[in-house]
């Protein structure tokens, strides 16, 4: 049995509407002498009705009805009678035979029928107890269940309505089946002629002028468009670009941070980090075993650095702790890009023509000897800015932080005194995070110590302010990422790389 072609159904629908004005029940449509009353037929009808409705030629309503079919158990009862009648049948009339015991009953009708049938027959008062067994209590019971099932089997429903069908459903004798059909009326643009609708404007239509007479199919504006097929930049590096732009807006020169390996001299000593500082211990810093050691820096500068650590100078008492050349010769993976800033400040002091005020920044990878987990990676990006000029004040640093972080959407800042071996004063920058309802630390900042700057040869009146933060943290907050490994490293989800929204730092966090 094949369903009818859409064209023939369409013609039938339109002609029936034209003749009768409406179609109350689509199952009554007749094609080639056959009613379209199967679910498949109605599915085909639905397709046609949708198409006609989209052209506003008709309107239709969906009507859902329910019919019932017998379950396997229901069919058995329909054929053999209900369990209770089967039980009744095998029992003797009282006094006309030996009462049947439970065990015997199970043998006679089977355990399943016996159990259900006995209890229902007893409830109906068809049977009664007689000694250790059962006997009949009525002469001719009417098997209502079997009668109901018979009617349902024939008509798909019962005249008794829900009270009957619900009970039978509960007994798992019948199951409902949903039927869908449609009632159809004429639409505003009803016609027995169907006009071909266009889906898109084509070059041919433009050329031929056919577009003037064309009608266009309704467009589903609720659907999404076709995905674009371009590539994507990594979200973290998009945040990097945001920061770069902020730095450029503020007149900063980018420092050449293309140097992963530093000597401990530049990474620590030159920055006035004492040789006994815990950060220099093996467990925190990646030391390099091949190549073995760094070449010597400018010997005069080296001597000035040694002296400030060991003996003091430039108004400082120094650390007065042993200072070893070997310690400074060790090669490390830079633990901070401040090592590069330090080298750049040294160059600034020793450039041709002498010191000139400068603003410099960098954003690049730094390394810490960590075992990776959700919050730790051995590599992350440090954002760093320095401003070197005569007569810089702590008030300048604070104002600068306000200005800089306002551009990243942080408008409410406060500053906490902190300790850092190479800056004094040192300030932790806190920002009010509306989403978290909390002050969160967003950066560290300070004015570099004279013990770091003066041995470089920077003039005494020059002060250098600096601040640093990681790139990952604002990115993680921005994108609500809780596992850093999904952001940096080979475990990055490339699908997310494509789908992350653009960064607009100035808008702040949600």
């Amino acid at each position: 049995m094949s369903t009818q072609s859409p064209e023939s159904i369409q013609t039938l629908v339109l002609q029936t509407l034209s003749a009768n004005g409406s179609i109350p029940d689509s199952r009554e449509l007749i094609v080639d002498g056959r009613a379209l009353n199967t679910p498949e037929d109605q599915g085909a009808v639905r397709g046609v009705l949708d198409s006609l409705q989209s052209k506003e030629m008709i309107e239709y309503k969906q009507i859902t009805t329910t019919s019932f079919t017998l379950t396997e158990e229901g069919k058995t009862i329909n054929e053999n009678g209900s369990h209770e009648i089967r039980v009744w049948k095998v029992l003797p009339v009282k006094g006309q035979g030996e009462p049947v015991t439970v065990q015997e009953l199970q043998k006679l009708v089977g355990p399943d029928v016996a159990k259900v049938g006995q209890s229902r027959a007893f409830k109906n008062k068809w049977i009664a107890k007689d000694g250790a067994g059962f006997v009949r209590a009525v002469s001719s019971p009417s098997d209502e269940t079997a009668d109901q099932l018979r009617e349902i089997n024939e008509k798909g429903d019962h005249a008794g309505g829900e009270s009957v069908t619900k009970e039978l459903q509960k007994r798992k004798l019948i199951q409902p089946k949903k039927h869908i059909h449609y009632s159809v009326t004429k639409g505003s643009k009803f016609s027995t002629e169907v006009k071909q609708l266009e889906t898109d404007l084509t070059a041919d239509m433009l050329q031929s002028g056919a577009w003037k007479d064309s009608s266009f199919k309704q467009y589903n504006f609720a659907a999404t468009g076709q995905p674009t097929d371009g590539g994507a930049l990594h979200p973290l590096l998009k945040v990097r670009e945001e920061f770069r732009n902020i730095f450029f807006d503020m007149g900063f020169t980018e420092m050449p941070t293309n140097r992963f390996v530093e000597s401990a001299f530049w990474n620590f000593d030159a920055m006035f980090v004492p040789q006994q500082h815990p950060a220099r211990e093996m467990q925190d810093t990646f030391y390099v075993k091949d190549p073995v050691k760094a070449l010597q820096p400018d010997p005069e500068y080296y001597e000035r650095v040694r002296k400030i650590h060991e003996e003091g100078g430039y108004g400082s008492i120094g650390y007065r702790a042993p200072f070893s050349r070997e310690e400074g010769e060790k090669l490390v993976l830079r633990t901070h890009t401040t090592a590069v800033s330090t080298a750049m400040l040294y160059e600034l002091a020793n450039q041709k023509g002498g010191f000139k005020p400068a603003k410099m920044y960098s954003i690049d990878r730094v390394f810490r000897n960590e075992t990776a987990d959700a919050t730790h990676l051995a590599e992350f990006h440090q954002v760093e800015g320095v401003v070197a000029d005569y007569n810089i004040t702590l008030g300048n640093l604070i104002a600068f932080m306000q200005e800089f972080f306002a551009k990243t959407g942080n408008h409410k800042l406060r500053f906490k005194p902190a300790y850092n071996p190479y800056t004094e004063p040192s300030m932790e920058v806190f920002s009010w995070h509306e989403g978290l309802g909390k002050w969160i630390e967003i950066a560290n900042s300070g004015i570099f110590r004279p013990e770091m700057l003066e041995p470089m040869g920077l003039p005494k009146g020059v002060r250098v302010l600096g601040w640093g933060m990681s790139l990952e943290r604002p990115t993680m907050i921005k994108y609500k990422i809780s596992d850093i490994r999904t952001l940096v490293g080979h475990k990055t989800d490339l699908d997310q790389v494509k789908k992350r929204p653009a960064v607009r730092l100035e808008k702040g966090d949600d």
């Binding site: 430039y314 400068a358 919050t375 978290l436 933060m469």
Partner: protein, 771 residues
């Protein structure tokens, strides 16, 4: 520093707690809870067994600590703080018993992290619990009521947090709420505590006495005290013998004659300060070690010497039996607290030891005190402090800290009895070196650096609030005479004094103004070029990956079918993980790992990266050089060689580099590819990328393929080369061509090494020659 739990164990087995800390005293301590004890032991055991595992597991709690250079803290610290707090909250909230083994730790953390992705959950946590203090700075725990009593004021948590913020310490946690909840349920609980993070250079704030004193001065409730040495009828003497050099030659001492024996709270604070100093400034007793004794059990003069370990014999703290020093090394070998200090002296021929006049041992620094001289809380009235050191500066700081912090309990407050130290050369001096350090500070400098316009007197008032005694100089109209007390060894320079003035004034009150520095922005050319290329790649439909720079040696070499030419890659000395053995010399391994982790992505997969590799460079000071490279990998059912090749063409097109077709082309400038033999690629499907620079332009060197040969042979070769007539002049067009990279279909063995089952093609080129 270690994870918190591990740190807690130190309380149990501290070396120099010369006491029989009466057991009732710490009944309130969580350490007496057998479950906590078990947990602590479990964590410690696991730590010893598999340090790496626990570091990973307990990482957020402790691993960061101490590494962040005191400043510029990255998100990891932030997150570790959050996690630590979260961990605690979860355990408390869910009434979980503390974890007993590593597996439980691991599970707990993963649980916590799965919750942590929910913003609301964070917010709730952050509202209720302060962040656990595990930054670089040490965290101290003080009794809240006692601190507020000393500050003569009750603070709300918020108010006290603000005070801490202004002063430059950080309130990590106020346990009041937890304690109240526990009390409401009738559970035994210690009194409310405050956990406060102290800057790493402020040893004078590491105990309740010092913190309270400094805050009182800050709040102008008292003037900075003057610490003085008493003049006893008879000085105690310590003879330092020559045998202590060079192992541990420095010695300092002090005597505290208390007005009454310390109570339990004070005594615990006294022990805790020693512990904090040992762990921080003393670097696990390596630089300095502290011993404290009941002076009434010993008699001077004392002798500090080094002696044959076989001939040292005494009963160490908490043991009744006597051992030789040699035997003690065995006894403490497996001791998880003292074991780690043994290597400071183990291999020395003679061990440091301190005797009294009756040959009774006081202590064997830096390992253990004697049982005989131990301090008993509630009983000991006169305390003798010994400190031994390898570093004179730190020794002075330590003896001053221990004696000044507790000097408020002496008969005459802030008066310390000196000890005469007689050095091997016969010279002698009094210890501790309490005298304030006189220095000067320029008021105009302080005003200029802070942006203030204060008079000298006003600045002096500010400095007094920071425990510095200052007065306008009478000889110099600009100068301030500043007395740096023995409690403030962090003051190295005028700038430290300037900072103190700024803190007292309030950072957030300072007049703000933008610096007037007028500069023009400039990009680093390599980054500018890199960004241009990155954007073109993305526009061409490729997705940017961001793999790590560190990788394993195999990933970098063997897995790419490349030999290690030696002295080429940068090898790490101490990685915690085998994943990090070398700095990559190629971008390819990271890209292939990224492909491996993203197999579920729809094909074709097209990824790229433009970033640095590093190669050894014997000529440069840091012995290494970075090279900016571009790498792209294509994966599909077919290798897509032509697609990858197309990306190369596109990049060159955008950079205006003409295509030369082949080597023999007469073009003066451009690029071409030519077949090559490269085991990374499928034979016959490998090509080198050649670049012909513009005439008279010396391009930036591309990544070298092997170690740079500095030998005499290469010098001769290059000399010869430069002496010979240039081949370019002879009309060979390719004489100046350089190889800047390669492309090809990846060899199936390479694919297999990276667990890839679909064909891939790749491209990797240097971009700096294209500058």
């Amino acid at each position: 520093m270690r994870p918190q739990v591990v740190r807690a164990t130190r309380l149990v087995g501290r070396r120099f707690n010369s006491s029989s800390s009466s057991s009732s005293s710490s009944s309130s301590s969580p350490l007496n809870n057998p479950n906590v004890q078990k947990a602590v032991e479990g964590a410690q055991k696991a730590y010893n067994q598999t340090a790496a595992t626990v570091k990973k597991v307990a990482g957020p709690l402790g691993e960061r600590v101490g590494s962040a250079l005191g400043g510029y803290r990255e998100p990891l610290v932030y997150n570790s703080k959050v996690v630590a707090s979260v961990a605690k909250q979860v355990w408390q909230a869910e009434k979980l018993s503390p974890p007993l083994d590593t597996a439980v730790w691991a599970r707990a953390y993963s649980q916590i992290w799965s919750r942590a992705s929910n913003l609301g959950y964070w917010r709730d946590l952050l509202k209720t619990g302060a962040w656990a203090g595990l930054g670089v700075a040490p965290t101290i725990t003080v009794d809240k009521d006692e601190l507020y009593r000393r500050l003569e004021r009750e603070y709300t948590t918020h108010e006290f947090d603000e005070l801490c913020f202004d002063f430059g310490v950080e309130l990590d946690e106020d346990t009041t709420k937890d304690v109240e909840e526990a009390r409401a349920k009738g559970l035994p609980t210690p009194p409310p505590q405050l956990k406060i993070e102290i800057p790493a250079n402020r040893y004078d704030l590491l105990c309740l006495e010092g913190l309270a004193r400094s805050l009182r001065i800050f709040l102008q409730k008292e003037q900075p005290p003057t610490y003085t040495l008493s003049v006893p009828d008879k000085l105690q003497e310590v003879y330092v013998e020559a045998s202590t050099s060079p192992l541990r030659p420095y010695f300092a001492s002090a005597i505290l004659r208390l007005s009454r024996p310390m109570n339990q709270l004070e005594y615990e604070s006294f022990i805790d300060l020693q512990d904090k100093l040992h762990q921080n400034l003393c670097r696990q007793r390596k630089f300095v070690a502290i011993g404290t004794h009941d002076l009434d059990t010993i008699e001077g003069p004392f002798r500090y010497m080094c002696k044959d370990p076989k001939k040292i014999k005494f009963a160490p703290l908490n043991k009744d039996q006597e051992y030789t020093a040699e035997e003690l090394m065995g006894v403490y070998e497996t001791d998880r607290h003292l074991g780690r200090y043994l290597n400071i002296i183990r291999d020395a021929p003679a061990y440091p030891i301190i005797y009294d006049s009756k040959d009774r041992v006081l202590s064997m620094p830096p390992i253990i005190n004697s049982q005989h001289s131990k301090i008993i809380a509630g009983k000991t009235k006169n305390i003798f402090i010994d400190t031994t050191a390898t570093d004179k500066t730190k020794l002075d700081i330590v003896i001053n800290m221990i004696s000044t912090m507790f000097a408020e309990y002496t008969e005459i407050p802030f008066t310390i009895e000196p000890v005469k130290i007689i050095m091997p050369d016969g010279s002698s001096h009094l210890s501790p070196p309490l005298a304030p350090r006189p220095t000067t500070a320029s008021s105009s400098y302080i005003n200029a650096a802070t942006g203030l316009t204060h008079t000298r007197e006003e600045i002096c008032t500010l400095l007094t609030r920071m425990s510095l005694t200052a007065s306008p100089s009478t000889s110099d109209a600009d100068a301030l005479d500043v007395q740096v007390p023995p409690t403030r060894p962090d003051i190295l320079h005028e700038c430290d004094i300037m900072e103190d003035a700024a803190i007292a004034y309030g950072f957030n009150n300072l007049p703000q103004s933008m610096p007037t520095t007028n500069t023009v922005a400039k990009a680093f050319p390599v980054n500018r070029l890199g960004d241009l290329i990155r954007k073109e790649c993305a526009m061409a439909g490729w997705i940017e990956a961001l793999p790590l720079i560190l990788c394993s040696h195999d990933e970098n070499f063997a897995w790419l079918n490349r030999p290690d030419p030696g002295h080429y890659a940068i090898h790490l000395a101490n990685p915690k993980s085998l994943e990090y053995q070398v700095v990559r010399t190629s971008l390819l391994p990271g890209m292939l790992k990224t492909v491996r982790e993203n197999k579920a992505l729809a094909l074709p997969m097209k990824i790229f990266e433009c970033s640095d590799v590093a190669i050894q460079d014997p000529k440069s000071e840091r012995q290494s050089k970075n090279y900016r490279r571009l790498c792209a990998v294509y994966m599909d059912k077919k290798s897509g060689f032509e697609v990858t090749h197309g990306l190369l063409d596109r990049v060159m097109q955008v950079l205006g580099v003409p295509f030369l077709e082949k080597r023999e082309s007469s073009g003066k400038y451009g690029y071409y590819i030519a077949s090559s033999e490269d085991p990374t690629y499928l034979p016959g499907r490998a090509a080198s990328v050649y670049y012909r620079p513009k005439p008279n332009v010396q391009p930036t060197e591309p990544t070298p393929s092997g170690p740079s040969s500095e030998g005499p042979l290469s010098t001769i070769a290059s000399t010869l080369k430069s002496a010979l007539p240039s081949s370019a002049e002879e009309g060979i067009p390719w004489s100046r061509d350089i190889i800047i990279g390669s492309l090809g279909i990846l060899h199936p063995t390479v694919l297999n090494n990276f667990e890839l089952t679909r064909p891939c093609s790749s491209l990797e080129i240097d971009v700096e020659p294209l500058l």
